[in-house]
């Protein structure tokens, strides 16, 4: 028996769409169901995931729809979504609305505490707002981990005829998609965060710089800005679209790009807080940083700072990606270990083979072996292990991964994406790739490998920004932890 007059909630997040959510939605409608498109719960291995009266069904294909409606979903029935262990163990502050609201629906947003942070900021005024952000301990979620409140205070203390808020939505790191999920799933939260920043530092205009690889996010944020314009007025927002350059995720390159120039990194000082966009004082923050603001303003600094460990306060939306069984968005307080994330929560590899390596922090982050899985998620703990949290993307590799190929790719990527301003990055990337090729061919392997390590040092300390400065991290960690992948016997075996 097929039930009628039921409402099915399905995500329209790009990952769900890429897994066929539209076809599933159409099948539900063809069966007479009403379909509501909501944000994604972040349980990506279950997408397309349909929700009917709180119960989840996934991953669905159009053929499964009649079984779901007929009450015969079998293994596709995952039970009540809110009780799912993947969600239950999370602390969702930034992703509190994920899966629950229609992204562009203003009523949904207002009904789930939307705009309350902005109200609180308007009531308490710029000074108190900045104080709250400072006391919350919120650090920039883009990778550098610089305290957001200090940035804001610096801009607030300048006097200028024009100041700007810039949102860095150039989420180029592989294994990261939390910015995309915020923009596609909860765009008003980002807009609210930017409006609060504008109020706090005295900026009347803001830009969201979104990478061109995210067409769905661009469309959603543009539509959301149109609808929320009156609510955030007199603050004004505009979306700008990148053009396929990774290095534009670096804040000063991004500012140049916004100005219509080549995305070349600027030397600091001057800091963007003093001379940023068009030479004016500018707050430039990552999507997740700005998206955390409304919660902090509504619940207070202490409530946020109570989460976390050491100098890493609050929660971090961690992204589980690559060869992992339960991939998706996992927001939790700082302090959780890498092993818990990969094995317990992520369920190990999707292929079922042993985990060989995990890259944390995108293409500029180190590869860590399972022996280091006791390392807690904390900015300082990662730095101590010559690794970085970055934007908190985790890529899992199984034992078939060739770490010499991944080290080579680190240099190759830097070669493609370097802005070319400083020599260690521009030339070092090419030389690093060439020299690793020689190692792979068995040409003077030991000497060439030590040459690569030497080059890594030059790049790390001689480059202007993180592009050249951190490319050595993945390369060097691969060499250090998996030296056997760099011996030529393997190459010879393959050739025979």
């Amino acid at each position: 028996m097929t039930r009628t007059n039921i409402t099915v909630r399905l995500s329209d997040d790009a990952l769900a769409l890429a897994c066929g959510a539209d076809a599933v939605a159409a099948a539900f409608e063809a069966h007479g169901a009403k379909v509501e498109r909501v944000s994604s719960w972040g349980m990506h291995w279950l997408e397309p995931l349909a929700e009917i009266d709180g119960r989840g069904y996934g991953p669905l294909s159009p053929q499964d729809v009649s079984a779901v409606l007929g009450g015969k979903a079998g293994v596709l029935d995952i039970g009540m979504i809110a009780d799912h262990p993947f969600l239950k163990a999370q602390t969702r502050l930034t992703f509190a609305r994920a899966g629950k609201t229609r992204p562009l629906n203003l009523d949904d947003y207002a009904a789930t505490d939307g705009w309350k942070g902005l109200e609180a900021a308007r009531k308490s005024g710029p000074d108190k707002t900045i104080e709250t952000v400072l006391d919350s301990g919120l650090r920039g979620r883009g990778g550098a981990g610089f305290p957001a409140g200090i940035k804001w205070r610096t801009v607030a203390d300048t006097s200028a005829d024009q100041k700007y808020i810039v949102c860095n939505a150039d989420e180029g790191d592989s294994a990261t998609f939390a910015d995309r999920m915020v923009m596609e799933g909860d765009p008003y939260m980002l807009i609210e965060g930017m409006a609060i920043a504008g109020l706090a530092v005295g900026a009347s205009k803001g830009y969201v710089y979104i990478r061109s690889e995210y067409p769905h996010a661009i469309a959603k944020v543009r539509a959301a800005i149109d609808r929320a314009a009156a609510i955030i007025a007199p603050f004004e927002l505009e979306v700008r679209v990148g053009a396929g350059s990774y290095v534009c995720g670096e804040e000063t390159a991004l500012l140049n790009s916004l100005e219509g120039k080549r995305g070349v990194v600027r030397a600091k000082p001057p800091l963007p807080a003093h001379e940023g966009l068009f030479g004016k004082p500018t707050v430039i923050n990552n999507v997740l940083t700005l998206a955390a603001i409304p919660w902090i303003m509504m619940h207070g600094a202490k409530a946020y700072a109570d989460f976390g460990m050491g100098r890493s306060r609050g929660t971090m939306p961690i992204q589980l990606a690559g060869n992992i069984r339960h991939g998706g968005l996992y927001e939790t307080a700082f302090g959780i270990t890498l092993g818990e994330l990969v094995n317990d929560i992520g369920g190990g590899t999707a292929t079922g083979r042993p985990v060989k390596a995990v890259q944390v922090g995108g293409p500029l982050g180190a590869y860590l072996p399972p022996e280091q899985f006791d390392i807690p998620f904390d900015y300082e703990a990662f730095t101590a292990k010559q690794a970085l949290i970055g934007h908190a993307g985790i890529t899992v590799f199984d034992d078939t991964a060739d770490m010499s190929a991944m080290a080579r790719f680190a240099f190759e990527f830097c070669e493609v994406e370097s802005c070319g301003k400083c020599t260690p990055c521009r030339i070092g990337a090419t030389r690093g790739r060439e020299t690793l090729d020689k190692v792979a061919q068995g040409k003077d392997a030991a000497a060439n490998l030590s040459l690569v390590l030497d080059l890594c040092e030059t790049m790390e300390f001689g480059s202007l920004c993180a592009m050249g400065g951190f490319t050595p991290y993945p390369a060097r960690s691969a060499i250090r932890h998996w030296p056997e992948d760099f011996t030529t016997s393997k190459v010879k075996e393959a050739a025979e």
Binding site: A18, C19, S174, F177, E213, G260, A321, G322
Partner: protein, 141 residues
């Protein structure tokens, strides 16, 4: 100057830092940014042709010649590598032949569900295997 190009320049008259938005619109309208377009943009913004060329040549997105065929962007970044995209490349190139161009892209943000690809229309596809990828390539025109 063509009317469409004139429209694009006019639309961005009040825009701060208008060059990238203009170039995006030109490429969306004409399919590429020609030498002629660059001259007209330079004149319109009162900057040198060298400045326009510098920007066009810096960014991976801009083409100075028509693509001539549909372009499928296949993610080749770490997370998709971890999920086996490299093993699909040779077969994809074969399926594409001279009809479709396969270009690498470094991350579509679908990293928990790779291998992933994006069509010229901006449609995204995840969990690709060789069969699904070849089918997708076959469907492009």
């Amino acid at each position: 100057m063509s009317e469409a190009l004139e429209d694009i320049l006019k639309r961005h008259e009040l825009c701060e830092g208008p060059l990238l938005p203009i170039l995006h619109d030109v490429q969306n309208t004409f399919g590429y940014v020609s030498d002629y377009h660059m001259r007209m943009i330079a004149a319109g913004l009162n900057i040198t042709r060298a400045e326009v060329w510098g920007v066009v040549s810096f960014y991976h997105d801009f083409r100075t010649e028509p693509a001539g065929k549909p372009v499928l962007k296949l993610c080749r970044a770490e997370a998709c590598k971890a999920r086996g995209v490299e093993a699909l490349v040779e077969g994809a190139e074969k399926a594409a032949g001279s009809r479709v161009r396969i270009e690498p892209v470094y991350c579509l943000g679908l990293c928990s569900g790779g291998p992933a690809a994006m069509t010229p229309q901006g449609d995204v596809h995840a969990r690709l295997d060789s069969e699904k990828l070849n089918q997708l390539i076959g469907s492009l025109s």
